[in-house]
C-alpha cells in the first residue's frame, strides 16, 4: 500500500477513564442493538454450526445409509487436493486483478462525479447503471459479446475464430472484464463518499502554498480519504473473493476457471457431497475472515469512517 507511507494517522485517543455518561450511552447502544444482534446470530450461527458439523462426516444426501463420521479428514482431503488449490489460484487472480483495476477506475469515476458541474445527475446515473444490472444478466451480456457464434468482439479486434472461453487465461480476462464493468460503480460510490469528506480548505491552503495538482492529490486528497479507500477495498475484496455468477454462466468452471464459491456449490449442490462440500464452505468462510482481519487489523481500516462520523 503506497498510501500508508503518507503519515496523517489520527492522534491516538488517550485511554481515559470512561465518564458515567459515556458508560450509560454505551449501555444504551448495546441494548438498542441487542435484538438485531440476536436475530443475526440466529440466522447466521445455526447454518454455520450445522455446516461445521456436516463437514466432519463423509455424507451424501442421496446415500443416507453410507453416512460416517470421519473427523477432520474432509479438511485434509480438501487442503491436499489440487482442485482446491487450482480454484484458490483462480479466485486469487480474479480478486487481485479486478480489485486493483477497479480501484484506479473507480477513483477516476469518483473524481468525475465530484468535479462535474453540468449534467451531474446524468453522469452519476450513467456511471451507476452497470451496478444496477443483475450479475447473471451482465455475465450473459459479456458472454454473448465474446462468444464465437454470437460475439462481435472477435470481429472488432480481428481475432478470427479465437475462442475466448477455450483456455484459462483468455476466459479469465473476460470474467475479470465483466466483473470490473459491473462493480466499478460500487467502488466509485464509496470513494466519492470519501472524496466529499476532504475539506475544501485543505485544498485551498495547499494551492496557496503552491502545490501542483499531483501534489495536492498525493499529499492532501489521498491521505484524507484513506479510511474510505480502505473500506471500499475491503468490501470489494470480500465481494470479489466470493465470485460465483460470472464463471458459472460463462464457462461452467471449464478450463480451470472454477472459483472457490463454485467449488462449494458443486460439492454441495451438484454432487450432494455434504461432508466435503461443507468443509469447502467452512474453509471459504475462514478465508473471508482472514481477509477481513487483515484489512481491519493489518491496515487499520476504521469501518466507522465510511459513515462519515469522524
Amino acid at each position: 500500500m503506497a498510501l500508508t507511507e503518507v503519515r496523517v494517522a489520527p492522534p491516538e485517543p488517550a485511554k481515559a477513564e470512561l465518564t458515567d455518561r459515556a458508560r450509560r450511552e454505551r449501555r444504551l447502544g448495546l441494548t438498542l442493538s441487542a435484538p438485531a444482534f440476536l436475530v443475526m446470530v440466529f440466522v447466521t450461527a445455526y447454518p454455520l454450526i450445522y455446516a461445521v458439523v456436516l463437514s466432519l462426516y463423509n455424507y451424501r444426501l442421496t446415500d443416507p445409509a453410507g453416512r460416517e463420521f470421519v473427523g477432520l479428514r474432509n479438511y485434509s482431503t480438501v487442503l491436499t487436493d489440487p482442485v482446491w488449490w487450482t480454484d484458490f489460484g483462480t479466485t486469487l487472480i480474479i480478486t487481485v486483478v479486478s480489485v486493483a483495476v477497479e480501484l484506479v477506475l473507480g477513483f477516476a469515476f469518483a473524481f468525475v462525479m465530484y468535479r462535474i458541474i453540468r449534467g451531474r445527475s446524468l453522469v452519476r446515473t450513467g456511471i451507476l447503471i452497470p451496478y444496477g444490472i443483475v450479475t447473471v444478466v451482465s455475465a450473459y451480456i459479456w458472454q454473448f459479446a465474446f462468444q464465437l457464434d454470437s460475439g462481435f468482439v472477435n470481429q472488432w479486434l480481428g481475432l478470427g475464430t479465437f475462442n475466448f472461453f477455450g483456455q484459462r487465461w483468455s476466459a479469465l480476462v473476460v470474467i475479470i472484464l465483466s466483473e470490473i464493468w459491473k462493480t466499478t460503480p460500487f467502488i466509485s460510490l464509496l470513494l466519492l463518499a470519501g472524496l466529499v469528506q476532504v475539506p475544501e480548505e485543505y485544498q485551498e491552503a495547499a494551492r496557496v502554498d503552491g502545490a501542483t495538482a499531483w501534489q495536492r492529490l498525493r499529499r492532501v486528497t489521498l491521505p484524507n480519504m484513506k479510511a474510505a479507500i480502505m473500506v471500499a477495498l475491503l468490501f470489494r475484496t470480500l465481494d470479489a473473493w466470493r465470485i460465483f455468477d460470472n464463471p458459472f454462466i460463462m464457462t461452467r468452471g471449464a478450463n480451470d476457471t472454477e472459483t472457490l464459491s463454485f467449488l462449494a456449490y458443486r460439492q454441495n449442490v451438484t454432487l450432494v457431497n455434504m461432508g466435503a462440500g461443507s468443509a469447502v464452505s467452512v474453509l471459504l468462510f475462514l478465508t473471508v475472515v482472514v481477509i477481513a482481519f487483515i484489512f481491519v487489523k493489518g491496515f487499520r481500516t476504521d469501518l466507522s469512517q465510511v459513515r462519515g462520523d469522524q
Binding site: N58, R60, L61, T62, D63, P64, A65, G66, V70, R73, N74, T77, V78, D81, V83, W84, L189, L190, L192, A193, G194, V196, Q197, A228, A254, L263, R266, Q267, V269, T270, L271, V272, N273, G275, A276, V280, V306, R307, G308
Partner: protein, 439 residues
C-alpha cells in the same frame, strides 16, 4: 452521499427479502390453485422435447375421464441440471413432484435416497411387459421396480457407403470391429466421428467399449461408495487401446477432444466423413440439412447404418443406452393418479404415438412392428436389436462421481494408453467414492 452508499446495500438486502417473501407467497398460491375445483392436479416434470409429452399428458388425463389434470413442468435442457433441480427439490421433500421423466443413469441414485415411490409388484407386468432388455435393467434398484421405461435410445454405426465400398469393408457384416473401421478410414483418408469432449457423451462411448469387450466400469454397485472399480482390467484395456489408437491415428477428426454429438455429425456430413457412432436423430437431421440446402441429396443417399461395431470380432457389441424412465415421486400427494399417468404414458399405443410425434424410440419391442414406425424409421429393426442388447451405464447411486472420474482421467483421448489410463481411472474413482479426492 456517504450515508447513501452504505444504506443502498442494506436496501438491496431488504428488497431481496421482500422479493423472496413475495415469491414464497405466490408459490403457495400456485400449488393451491386447481384444488378449488376438487380435481387433483398431477405435476409431471419432463425433460424438454418437442411438446410430445405435454400432448400425451392431455390425452392421458382425458382417458382417465377427468379424474385428474396434469400440470407439465419443463426441466432444464442439460441432463445434469435436470438431476440437480430434482435432487434439490426432493431433498426438501417436495410433494408437488408427482411424476418425473428421469434419465436412466440417475434412477439408482434417486431410488437409493428414497426419492422414488417403488411400483407395486401387481403393476410390474403392465409396466414392464415387452420392454426391451436394455432399458429394463435400468428400471430396478435392489430388485425393486422403481421406474417405468418410457422411451429408449441407442447409438448406431453410421457410414458413408462410398467410403466403405472403396475400402472394401462391409460395416453391416457380423464381426465388423473398431480396428477394422479405423484401418478402413485410414486407408481412405477419412475420419471417424465420435464423442470425446470431456462430457457425458464421452462416458457413453467408453462404457459402450468396456461393455462390448465383456467387462464393466464398476462392480458390486449395491455397496454404494464401497463399490469396486473394474475398469482396470482386460475390458478397460481394450477400450483404452481403441480410443488411444483412434485418437493418434489419421482417422481421428481434427477437433476430437472437443467433439460432441453435433460436431461428430457435421464432420460426418463433410467431405472428410467416413464413419460415425451416434444416436438415430442424425438421420432425420441429415434429411433436414438436405431440405435446407446444407448438404446435397447425394450425401444423404450415401449414408448407411449398421449395429454398433464390435471390440472383438467374436463377441457381439453392447451398444450405448439412453432414453427416459418415468418415476413417481416419493412425497407425491396423488400417487394413484400419478401411477395412472405413468401406466397410460408408457402404454404401447402411446409410446408408438410418442415415437412418431417426438422422434424418440419406444422402450417396448412391439412398437417396432408398427407399420407407421417402420415407415418413419427404415432402420427400426437395428434400433430395436441394439436397444435390447445395449449395455447400460453403471447402475450406482454414485453415478455422477463414477462418470466424472472416468471423463477426467480419460480426457484428452490422445493421452489414453492401456493399461495406464484404466489403472489411473480406477484408483481415482475409488479415492473419489471414498471421499479422499475432490471432483
Amino acid at each position: 452521499m456517504s450515508r447513501y452508499a452504505v444504506r443502498s446495500r442494506v436496501g438491496r438486502g431488504r428488497r431481496r427479502l421482500a422479493a423472496a417473501v413475495v415469491l414464497a407467497l405466490s408459490a403457495g398460491l400456485l400449488t393451491g390453485c386447481g384444488d378449488d375445483s376438487g380435481v387433483p392436479v398431477v405435476t409431471w416434470y419432463i425433460n424438454p422435447d418437442n411438446g410430445g409429452q405435454s400432448r400425451l399428458a392431455e390425452r392421458c388425463a382425458a382417458a382417465a375421464g377427468g379424474t385428474y389434470r396434469v400440470d407439465v413442468q419443463v426441466l432444464p435442457n442439460d441432463a445434469s441440471q435436470q438431476r440437480e433441480q430434482l435432487v434439490r427439490r426432493l431433498a426438501a421433500k417436495d410433494s408437488s413432484i408427482d411424476v418425473m421423466s428421469l434419465d436412466p443413469p440417475f434412477v439408482a441414485e434417486f431410488a437409493n435416497a428414497g426419492f422414488l415411490r417403488p411400483f407395486d409388484p401387481a403393476d410390474t407386468a403392465t409396466l414392464t411387459g415387452d420392454v426391451l432388455r436394455g432399458p429394463l435393467q435400468t428400471a430396478y434398484w435392489k430388485d425393486q421396480l422403481v421406474a417405468a421405461p418410457f422411451w429408449a435410445n441407442t447409438q448406431l454405426l453410421w457410414y458413408r457407403k462410398s467410403v466403405a465400398r472403396a475400402a472394401g469393408v462391409d460395416p453391416t457384416a457380423t464381426g465388423f470391429t473398431w480396428d477394422a473401421m479405423i484401418r478402413a478410414a485410414e486407408s481412405q483418408r477419412k475420419v471417424i466421428g465420435v464423442q470425446a469432449n470431456r462430457y457425458e457423451g464421452y462416458m457413453v462411448w467408453i462404457n459402450a467399449l468396456v461393455a462390448s469387450a465383456g467387462g464393466e466400469i464398476l462392480g458390486d454397485v449395491e455397496a454404494g461408495k464401497d463399490a469396486s472399480p473394474e475398469i482396470a482390467g482386460p475390458a478397460g484395456d481394450d477400450a483404452a487401446r481403441i480410443i488411444g489408437d483412434l485418437a493418434r491415428s489419421p482417422a481421428a477428426p481434427p477437433a476430437m477432444s472437443t467433439m460432441g454429438e453435433e460436431e461428430a455429425r457435421s464432420a460426418f456430413q463433410s467431405p472428410s466423413g467416413g464413419f460415425m457412432v451416434n444416436w438415430p436423430y442424425v438421420y432425420s437431421a441429415a434429411k433436414e440439412s438436405v431440405a435446407s440446402g446444407g448438404i446435397g441429396q447425394d450425401v444423404l443417399d450415401d449414408i448407411g447404418w449398421a449395429r454398433y461395431p464390435r471390440v472383438a470380432a467374436g463377441t457381439p457389441s453392447k451398444p450405448p443406452l439412453g432414453g427416459i424412465n418415468l418415476t413417481v415421486g416419493a412425497f407425491s400427494e396423488h400417487p394413484e393418479q400419478a401411477l395412472d399417468l405413468v401406466r397410460c404414458a408408457t402404454s404401447l399405443p402411446n409410446t408408438i404415438a410418442y415415437m412418431l410425434d417426438a422422434g424418440n424410440p419406444a422402450a417396448r419391442g412391439a412398437a417396432y412392428d408398427d407399420p407407421g414406425v417402420r415407415q418413419a424409421y427404415p432402420m427400426a429393426s437395428v434400433i430395436r436389436q441394439s436397444i435390447n442388447d445395449a449395455g447400460p451405464r453403471p447402475i450406482t447411486p454414485y453415478y455422477n462421481d463414477v462418470s466424472t472420474s472416468v471423463q477426467i482421467t480419460w480426457h484428452p483421448a490422445t493421452g489414453v494408453t492401456a493399461p495406464a489410463t484404466p489403472e489411473e481411472s480406477a484408483a481415482f474413482m475409488s479415492d473419489v467414492l471414498q471421499g479422499r479426492r475432490l471432483l
